[in-house]
């Protein structure tokens, strides 16, 4: 598994996201390419934008022959949902994700009410 490569892609996505957020208006791939600190090929930028759109991170609208991209407004919610999705796919998530409470069984619920009412 190319962990390093995936990580690099993640870093690029973060940079593109920052550019789009600073832009304050939908940008096309050429705009993004010129605003990025890295010297990336146009096709690479298009690939990243397309992938981010496919992941649901960006919205896009047709503008002539190209697309203009903008970040999805609900970014925190999106990141959280993405995290939930990834963690749900991890077989060992129980070890790394410490939830404040687990869900209760019906029987536990009654027991808990009794415990709390006892005080």
């Amino acid at each position: 598994m190319a962990g390093g490569e995936r990580r690099a892609a993640g870093a690029l996505e973060a940079e593109v996201m920052t550019v789009l957020q600073r832009g304050g208006r939908p940008l096309n791939a050429a705009d993004v390419q010129s605003l990025l600190a890295d010297d990336l090929a146009y096709t690479t930028v298009v690939t990243i934008l397309t992938r981010m759109h496919a992941k649901g991170l960006l919205t896009r609208e047709k503008d002539g022959r190209s697309f203009r991209y903008a970040p999805v407004s609900d970014e925190p919610g999106l990141v959280a949902r993405r995290m939930h999705r990834t963690m749900a796919a991890e077989p060992d998530r129980q070890a790394v994700l410490a939830r404040f409470v687990d869900s209760l069984s019906d029987q536990d619920e009654q027991l808990l009410r009794d415990l709390l009412d006892g005080r």
């Binding site: 959280a80 993405r82 060992d92 070890a95």
Partner: protein
């Protein structure tokens, strides 16, 4: 046909430890319990590998057991490492710069992943400022106590020696209790901490019970955590700790003994465990 009792120790001690795991998690102060369970699991996993390794040259069955144990441990270690890396990477991408990441979500939810605490806006809205402190202190206790690493160690140990499997759940419970007591100490009120846990659990709703078996009337972890906080504060469990670590010592002392003499009875012990002796 005499079978040396020593031969069974690599199997008997982990089985005893697994039986003792739950009582240890409930009786010992949670922090002590967490460490005792982790050290016990890691130590016993290693101690059960040593005699298998020593026998592996002359005994095909021991060699297979040894290979299976090492492979199981290695696969689990790889899985844990990957899960931790994924969680860390995801935690970095969460909104905000500090430890706390608030996510816009109406559902009542809060958890920690290595490095970050994630709380939904739904959760924040359901709690007042004092109650929020209990929640934050609980999740931050998981981070500062590095509970994910303890859990990883026990998961790897129990993958190498499946007799140790029940220790996973016991450690999981002990670390939750540890975080609960830290949260109670942070607000200086154990009853209040109990109420917050109960309130959040009740507000989060119920799920169909996943526990199997007929007549499982044992309370689940949340009612037990609340009951523990409503009861007296945990007392030092010096005797239990010494007994638990004595178990490890007992297993550790016999292991080199068996290794020293490759023709020693453990072969028969292992064969008896596996099936009829030839």
């Amino acid at each position: 046909m005499t079978v040396d009792l020593d031969a069974y120790l690599p199997f008997v001690v982990p089985a005893v430890a697994a039986l003792a795991a739950r009582p240890l998690a409930e009786r010992l102060p949670p922090r002590t319990a967490s460490w005792v369970l982790t050290v016990l699991a890691a130590g016993l996993a290693i101690a059960s590998l040593v005699p298998l390794f020593a026998l592996a040259r002359g005994d095909l069955f021991a060699a297979l057991l040894f290979a299976a144990a090492v492979a199981g441990g290695a696969v689990a270690a790889y899985g844990q490492g990957r899960a931790l890396r994924t969680a860390r990477r995801q935690a970095r991408d969460l909104p905000g710069d500090g430890v706390l990441a608030v996510v816009a979500d109406d559902r009542i939810d809060a958890y920690s992943v290595p490095g970050r605490v994630v709380v939904s806006t739904g959760m924040l809205g359901a709690l007042d400022a004092g109650e929020q402190r209990v929640l934050f202190a609980h999740e931050i206790a998981h981070l500062s106590g590095r509970h994910h690493l303890l859990r990883a160690v026990v998961r790897v140990a129990s993958a190498a020696n499946p007799l140790l499997w029940p220790m996973r759940r016991a450690l999981w419970y002990a670390t939750e209790r540890w975080a609960d007591e830290r949260a109670a100490a942070a607000v200086g009120d154990r009853v209040m901490a109990a109420r917050v846990i109960g309130k959040v659990a009740l507000a989060s709703g119920t799920a169909p019970s996943v526990r199997m078996g007929i007549g499982t009337t044992r309370p689940g972890p949340v009612p037990r955590r609340v009951a523990a906080l409503l009861g007296p504060p945990p007392r030092r469990g010096a005797v239990l700790t010494v007994a638990a670590l004595g178990l490890l010592l007992c297993s550790g002392l016999t292991a080199p003994d068996l290794v020293g003499d490759p023709h020693h009875a453990p072969v028969s012990g292992i064969v008896v465990v596996a099936g009829p002796r030839r």
